[in-house]
């Protein structure tokens, strides 16, 4: 039969190799605190590292060459892959881990373009994709389009998923506007949660296309087919970071000029998902365990040393699991090798790794317990993640959404509240690089004798929603309803976290300008981020203030920003600069003295009248709430501003009397120390006036 088959295949076609890129770093912080120690792609899903699923998916498509890009934790990724079957001689494809200093997908793509690895069209996936979609059809369609037109530079593979689906990103509703005739994506936008679903479709789109589909029911699992031309696009636009928000958006915007098109391939069979949030982690695990991702189920034993067997009710057990006679393991659970479950314990809908020791009378529901964890007698664990080697003491109660990181020790009888993240390590923010270091144990969280502390969600650029592991729907509502409103709802777009860089504090902005619509808010947030970044950069490098001013002006014009936004950006940038200096070891006074006087022209340019001065101070104040030594900085800044005549008494007074400046206890606290300055200024002003009036 073989010779006959050869006749049917096209021998010419077989010459080209199919290449793929795995973006193994997510450049995101959504899996904190777990990703402090391990890259996301090595986190286990149903006891198998995520990258295994990704590699398997690529192998099943017939990929022959794979490049793995990894930014954070490259060593771990490399070590893992070196020991995996993907780098052995028997591997179905050749795999190379590319070291790069990339801090975003964009950087990786540009690096890829520079190195010129890609000979032809290639597949680009993230290191956390699980997919069993046969890509033949997509590749074929892509190729056909390429032959028709050189300008079809990319095909996105999307899975139809209906209006609501647990695996679909409910938060960032991605909308694709597609011409069904050519499968061309003609517009892409993300609808923010709790904003009116409104799309800004350009006029030409409606004019040029007879028929358009607007689809919001698609799972975007990040499987893209690129052409080398697309890489060149990435290189041309050095500030693009994300494949969707920047790349797709940018290319679509420039369609009029360059005529490049992006296409979609919508599949309605097979499984495809990205594990990009904890919620997605939860949903995808459920899919894998209930066999939606067949054949990628635990009992397929993707890793050679696994030996899972399927038992009734989708319970998977590896060899050597020890179950006490009176214990119950009910539906949709996975138990790894050499795990033991004590008398009377009940395990439902949970994943338990290898070598875990679960005590007696424990109740575990919807939880994820990774390898080598210990759970003491009578503990209760609800929808939570317990990471490797963590230990949960007797009679503990781990509530829903709690994340217990590597090696944390929760002492006896402690209750870990909902959505708490307990960790032993924290990230220290440095200027260039963040370092991971041990935090100080907080006994109020882990109890006496425990180890670990609570990791605050200080990632204000991070959407809380993304960081929450929510097992159930009512949970979502809760998060949607109240919690999130405190945080930045007008914040960055989806993957826009500048994960390693402290940036905008737009969270505080919401309280000031909360009457804005979502759409404007987003634009404003974008402007704010860019502007404050560039000012900060300028300050940092000690650029000429005029130069910075010029740049700011240019940004302002492109974004059509208002004056108050500029003030805000300037305020935040200065604060960042000051905070930076303080971190280096200067006192608040020195820092302010270094930062502000040389650049006072910058402030003067945007702060003129008393009203503006008050607003500027308000921005400074709200931003300083989050900063170290905020009150001291504010005092010094106010002093310097007053001394250099950048603000006058009126401005200070207006600010002081503004109800927004004392809206919360924190705000009060920050400004408390500044009172003398205000009083003094007010007095001197009065005196002046008096003097003036006297003279008259």
């Amino acid at each position: 039969m073989a010779p006959k088959a050869r006749k049917t295949g096209e021998p010419l076609e077989a010459e080209e190799t199919l290449q793929a890129v795995i973006i193994a770093d997510s450049y995101e912080d959504r899996f904190l605190p777990f990703t402090l120690e391990r890259p996301r792609c090595l986190l286990t899903l149903a006891n198998t590292p995520l990258i295994e699923y990704t590699c398997e998916s690529l192998a099943s498509v017939g990929v022959q060459e794979v490049f793995v890009y990894s930014g954070n934790h490259t060593d771990q990724v490399e070590t893992y892959l070196d020991n995996s079957r993907w780098t052995k001689d028997t591997s179905p494809f050749s795999l190379e881990v590319v070291r790069s200093t990339s801090t975003s997908v964009g950087d990786a793509m540009r690096d890829l373009d520079q190195k010129g690895f890609m000979k032809g069209d290639f597949i680009c996936v993230y290191g956390d994709v699980i997919a069993n979609i046969p890509l033949d059809a997509a590749l074929k369609a892509h190729k056909a389009r390429r032959e028709m037109s050189k300008n079809a530079i990319m095909t996105m593979v999307l899975r139809e998923a209906g209006e609501y689906h647990r695996t679909k990103d409910q938060h960032h509703r991605r909308c694709f506007v597609i011409d069904p005739e050519t499968d061309r994506c003609i517009h892409y936008e993300q609808v923010r949660p709790r904003t009116s679903p409104r799309l800004n479709i350009p006029e030409e789109v409606l004019k040029d296309h007879v028929e358009i589909d607007m689809r919001e029911d698609l799972i975007d699992c990040g499987i893209d087919i690129y052409t080398p031309d697309a890489l060149a696009q990435w290189s041309d636009s050095f500030d693009w970071k994300m494949p969707r928000q920047d790349f797709v958006h940018g290319v679509l915007q420039d369609f009029e000029t360059f005529g490049r098109t992006i296409h979609t391939h919508i599949v309605n069979e097979g499984y495809a998902a990205r594990v990009n949030t904890l919620r997605a982690y939860d949903a995808t695990t459920k899919d894998v365990v209930s066999r939606w991702a067949f054949p990628y189920c635990p009992d397929t034993n993707l890793l050679t040393d696994q030996s899972y067997q399927l038992q009734k009710g989708n319970v998977y057990k590896e060899d050597g699991v020890v179950l006490a006679r009176s214990s119950t393991v009910s539906r949709k659970s996975v138990l790894g090798r050499a795990t033991s479950i004590g008398e009377g314990s009940v395990i439902t809908n949970s994943i338990i790794g290898r070598r875990c020791v679960i005590g007696r009378r424990v109740r575990i529901e919807n939880a994820y317990i990774w390898d080598d964890a210990r759970v003491g007698d009578d503990a209760v664990i609800e929808t939570a993640v317990i990471a490797n080697e963590a230990s949960v003491g007797k009679k503990c109660h781990i509530k829903r959404g709690a994340l217990v990181s590597y090696g944390v020790n929760i002492a006896k009888g402690v209750t870990v509240e909902e959505n708490t993240r307990v960790t032993k390590l924290k990230r220290k923010r440095g200027y260039d690089n963040d370092e991971v270091c041990r935090g100080v144990t907080d006994p109020t969280i882990v109890g006496e004798g425990g180890e670990g502390f609570q990791l605050e969600l200080d990632e204000d650029e991070e959407d809380v929603y993304e960081a929450v592991l929510a097992g159930v729907q009512d949970m979502d509502l809760m998060v949607d309803g109240d919690e999130i409103s405190d945080f930045a709802s007008g914040d960055e777009e989806d993957e826009y976290e500048y994960s390693r860089e402290p940036t905008s504090r737009s969270g505080s902005f919401t309280s000031i300008a909360s009457d804005e619509s979502g759409e404007t808010k987003r634009d404003m947030a974008k402007f704010h981020r860019e502007a404050s970044d560039s000012i900060f950069d300028g300050l940092q490098r000690g650029q000429d203030p005029d130069h910075i001013q010029l740049e700011l002006q240019a940004q302002r014009l492109t974004e059509n920003a208002e004056d108050s936004q500029i003030r805000r950006a300037v305020a935040v940038a200065f604060n960042r600069r000051i905070a930076n200096l303080i971190e280096v070891g200067r006192t608040a006074k020195e820092a302010v003295a270094t930062a502000i006087p040389p650049n006072q022209r910058l402030i003067k340019a945007c702060v003129k009248e008393a009203r503006e001065q008050a607003e500027f101070l308000l921005f400074l104040q709200t931003d300083l709430v989050h900063r170290a030594q905020g009150s001291k900085v504010l005092l010094n800044v106010a002093f310097v501003l007053a001394g250099e005549d950048m603000v006058d008494g009126d401005g200070l007074e207006q600010w002081w009397e503004d109800p927004r400046s004392s809206a919360s206890a924190e705000l009060e606290k920050v400004r408390a120390e500044t009172k003398p300055v205000v009083d003094q200024m007010g007095e001197s002003e009065d005196e002046e006036e008096e003097e003036e009036s006297d003279e008259e």
Binding site: A2, D89, D217, W292
Partner: protein
């Protein structure tokens, strides 16, 4: 950009270029990913792969080494997808071929060198009685991965004896009379009698644990004449390759051989019911349709096989080539009335049906079978209406596995075939299962037609004994021996 999804065809193509280890790994991952599935493709791929393993250039085999090697590869393949029993069957068949070649060789050698008494065949029999103990506890999924198997070896003797009796009784009618003549018979014939022999022949308690005795296949090289050695080794390789090629031929012609008996079973104006898009059944019915007119009810096997079934009815069965578009003529073109029915209608129609024809996924040693989901319903309905059930199966589907736990033999597939993935609300609240196979008990089947002819289900044990060596029944058991020896 090639973008060729791996399949049987690409695998067979790549066999020639890749080295052996890569091919093995490739086959394992194809099995795991279900890119090679169902009995026939699995069997074909396994024969090709083992042919490569045996024919490995620059390797000289002696019998024991070859057995170890094939056994080792076989274990890995079986562990990858234990539910594709055809893989294990082929591995066992190949092992049987090697043993046969070795024995024949041995015979000629010992005949010339030693006279009779210390015949290695008798030696081999001595260690056989232990094996049924594994047989009874053996399950195809057991030890599905490279788990250290030493847990087997330390089994206490009492457990052994229990198992011996258990494993020995149910399927072995007393045929003791022929004991005396076994020495003169061919190896395949003798193995049967050896099974029968042991319960009486030896006290179970006296049975040494299996592992302690090496299978006496490979006589120590010192016993051989130096001159014969080189010759013989070459021979083994060549002979085994011939044996595997014969197996491949068998796979090629198995459907035609089964179809030869079609006219004996399908009579004019009968109403026949079948299920799934099996090639074997299609060929069988096509052969009958050339001579006779009958009516066919075809259950569609929703949701896993209905598309192929519809295509088969409309356009004819797909030919031998998996990827080619070449199709056989549909039955309707030969003037046969074919009525497509949903599986749920089977019971209602059963009273009108004269004969049920099923195609199994695997046939088990006791005469029960695994077939596409829906087969159990059909068989039970047929039983109720006293309609004969005929199963068409190549011998390669016949597995020496005894179904102790039928649940674990059944594979569960992708639930999205039952409830679409988009029905999110529903799938969140309901556990959906999609079993790919049904288990049909042996008393629901009336007749098996294999490429050897027709057999009653209760007779299959005999065919099993003819085709598989007892030593090979439990592939994992071999490892114990190897471990012990090493």
């Amino acid at each position: 950009m090639v973008g060729q999804t791996p399949s049987l065809t690409t695998f067979l193509k790549s066999l020639k270029q890749n080295d052996i280890e890569t091919s093995i790994e490739l086959f394992i991952s194809l099995l795991k990913r279900r890119q090679i599935k169902n009995s026939r493709p699995c069997a074909i791929a396994t024969t090709h792969l083992l042919l490569r393993v045996v024919a490995e250039p620059k390797r000289k085999w002696d019998a024991q080494k070859l057995i170890d090697r094939v056994g080792h590869v076989g274990r890995r393949l079986v562990a990858a997808q234990p539910r594709e029993m055809a893989v294990g069957n082929i591995v066992r068949r190949v092992l049987g071929v090697i043993r046969e070649v070795a024995e024949r060789d041995e015979d000629s050698l010992t005949d010339s060198e030693f006279s009779g008494s210390a015949s290695p065949i008798t030696g081999e029999f001595k260690q056989r009685p232990g094996l049924p103990t594994r047989f009874s506890e053996f399950s195809p999924l057991h030890g599905a991965a490279a788990m250290p198997h030493n847990m087997h070896s330390g089994r206490p003797g009492t457990a052994d004896s229990m198992n011996v009796e258990f494993g020995g009784t149910p399927q072995r009618p007393g045929l003791m009379s022929s004991n005396a003549s076994y020495a003169g018979q061919g190896p395949s014939g003798t193995s049967l009698f050896s099974i029968l022999q042991h319960p009486q022949g030896r006290s179970p308690l006296a049975t040494p644990p299996t592992g302690t005795q090496s299978p006496a296949m490979g006589p120590s090289p010192s016993r051989r004449t130096t001159g014969g050695e080189a010759n013989e080794k070459l021979d083994i390789k060549a002979e085994v390759i011939d044996g595997i090629k014969e197996l491949q031929d068998e796979l090629d012609v198995v459907d035609s051989q089964i179809a030869e008996s079609a006219l004996d079973h399908i009579h004019s104006n009968e109403i026949v019911l079948t299920h799934t898009s099996s090639q074997t059944v299609q060929k069988f019915l096509l052969t009958a349709a050339r001579k006779r007119k009958f009516t066919l009810f075809h259950a569609e096997a929703y949701p896993n096989n209905h598309e192929a079934t519809h295509a088969t009815i409309l356009n004819g069965a797909q030919g031998e080539e998996e990827d080619s578009d070449e199709r056989w003529k549909p039955l309707t073109s030969l003037g046969i009335t074919v009525i497509l029915i949903p599986d749920s209608a089977v019971f209602a129609l059963m009273s009108r049906i004269n004969k049920v024809i099923l195609a199994p996924h695997a046939v088990l040693a006791n005469g029960s079978l695994l077939a596409a989901a829906g087969a159990s319903t059909i068989a039970l309905a047929a039983k109720t209406h006293h309609v004969p059930v005929v199963v068409l199966s190549g011998v390669y589907k016949l597995s020496p596995v005894y179904p102790f736990d039928t649940d674990e033999l059944i594979e569960y597939g992708d639930p999205s075939k039952v409830v679409p993935f988009e029905e999110a609300e529903f799938m969140n609240k309901v556990d959906i299962v999609n079993p790919l196979y049904d288990w049909v008990d042996c008393d629901l089947v009336d007749l098996y037609i294999t490429n050897l002819g027709g057999h009653a289900p209760s007779y299959l044990y005999r065919i099993v004994a003819d085709h598989y060596r007892l030593e090979d029944v439990d592939l994992n058991a071999k490892q114990d021996v190897a471990v012990k020896k090493g």
